[in-house]
Amino acid sequence: MWKFFNQVLVTVVYLFLLAPIIAVVLISFNGSAKLSIDLGSPSLQWYASMLMNEGFIEGAKVSFITASIVALVVLCFGVPVALAIARYDFRGRSFVSGLFLSPLLVPTVVLGLGLLLVFQPIALTGTYAGIIIAHFGITVPYVIRTTLMSLTTSDVSCEEAAKVHGANSWETFRRVTLPIISPGLIAGAVMAFIISFDEAVISLFVAGAGRTTLPVEMFRYLQYRSDPGVAALSVILIAISVVIVIVVERAVGLRKVMNS
């Protein structure tokens, strides 16, 4: 009895959690423009109209380019910091690690406003550079976290052995450390890509009238209209996320990344 009640409860909570995703998937096949489930005559018209919407195509392009560059930049800037925190003993080390995690403690509206105030006078709003700088703060903590996790769980003795045998710091990193921590790097880069790709609020502030990312395009579209078109687009995005997640799960284990 107790157990049955518990199972019903868990099922209901799962349904609630997945309700919007289920609704979005069903509505994307709507036969009419009604914003409710209407599968009398299912069609793919909304997918077709989305794939021909120039705003969304342009937005997707901008999002893809910025998210890729953000992932790369954050790796190049974040991994050395993680290396310094894990392998070097220096004054202010806890300050540095705190500093790099702190962007996650500030509401994105606040950070977005600050970035707008900095970017507006120097005409960086609505540019690739602006969006990439704006996404740095919210993505770098993930790369540092996953890299630190790989670094602290790996054995330092391999690196010491390489040094004893005459390898310099770069060779040690390139030949020993890098292969060991590469799962953490991949996981961090994927997280950074997904977060940058999905980020709407900060991008909304720094978008100005110029270049915008896909979530911003969707947001602006939804402010004035809501038809099943966005559902079709959402399904495409969800499918991409699922594929990425499965690939990462296979490669390194998603739960390890999320729980770190």
Binding site: L17, A19, V24, Y88, P107, I133, F136, A200, F219
Partner: protein, 296 residues
């Protein structure tokens, strides 16, 4: 001092200074990035909150608390602060209550599908908030799934108001933020030893009594963490209140955006941001005291 000692000391200082340069090289790019992308914007935002908004709409460089005075003497902004707290507390409470049984189930289950079940519970995190908000608009809207089906079977004559208000926003945000609470609770519950419950059971306590006296108190730190996370994320959320609120839900985050991009009153937008940060900080302080009390 012998020659060899001198030589070795020379080598260590050389080694040390090289390591110092390496350290500098490792940290510099990252520090530069975090400075430009985070420290500077937050600092500029603070500074901007001390400027004043001229009568003609121009920005006046000054050091005054005028923007704060404008915000805190206007009853509208007190309502906004009130709405923000109601949204945060409502989402926090509802998400905690709904996540609790699920998290407990996920920690305890021995099903071979455990991994899939956990992934399913936190997978929504990886779909864009815009897409999920859209899903809720489709469910809760006036012509949405709920109203549409209830009117079709004749339960309702007119749609019930589930969107464009605080209720709809709360429902959607609870779902959107629940995965965070579930994750926090899973990691908190993992530390509870099942043998304590077994001991209570074998000493004759009923299932309910075991839960109330053993499981619940031990799970409170995880519950607090989950609540805090959802509260903090709810009061800083923007996309969902804006889209599902249809411009009729006024919270600090939406007003910051309005003042920054529509009214162009940057000092006021900055002052509202600082107020939001203060609410944030107060909540985190309360949380730390609670956790210290329960774990200490």
């Amino acid at each position: 001092m012998t020659l060899t000692q001198m030589g070795s000391r020379k080598r260590t200082t050389g080694f040390r200074s090289r390591r110092r340069w390496e350290l500098f090289g490792l940290l510099f790019p990252g520090l530069l990035g975090i400075f430009v992308g985070f420290v500077l914007p937050v600092f500029v935002m603070f500074r901007m909150s001390l400027n004043t908004h001229g009568t003609g709409g121009q920005l006046v460089e000054s050091v005054s608390l005028g923007a704060y005075r404008d915000a805190l003497t206007d009853p509208f902004y007190w309502e906004v602060i009130g709405n923000t707290l109601v949204l945060g507390l409502g989402c926090g409470a509802a998400a905690t209550v709904l996540s609790y049984p699920l998290a407990l189930f996920l920690v305890r289950t021995t099903s071979k599908w455990k991994g899939v079940l956990i992934a399913l519970a936190i997978a929504p995190l990886l779909t864009s908030a815009v897409a999920r908000t859209y899903g809720w608009i489709a469910i809760l809207g006036d012509q949405g799934v709920i109203n549409d089906s209830l009117m079709r079977i004749g339960v309702l004559d007119a749609p019930i108001q589930l969107s464009n208000n605080l209720l709809g926003t709360t429902i959607a945000l609870v779902e959107i933020l629940m995965p965070y609470a579930i994750l926090a609770m899973i990691s908190g519950f993992g530390r509870i030893s099942p043998s304590l419950e077994e001991a209570a059971g074998s000493l004759g306590a009923s299932k309910l009594k075991t839960f109330v006296r053993i499981t619940l108190p031990l799970s409170l730190p995880g519950v607090f963490t989950g609540f805090l996370l959802v509260f903090v994320l709810a009061i800083s959320s923007f996309v969902t209140p804006r889209l599902l609120g249809g411009g009729r839900v006024f919270i600090l985050a939406t007003e910051v955006y309005n003042e920054a991009t529509q009214t162009l009153n940057w000092p006021l937008a900055s002052a509202l941001s600082v107020i939001l940060l203060v609410v944030f900080g107060l909540m985190i302080a309360v949380y730390q005291r609670l956790i210290a009390k329960f774990e200490g």
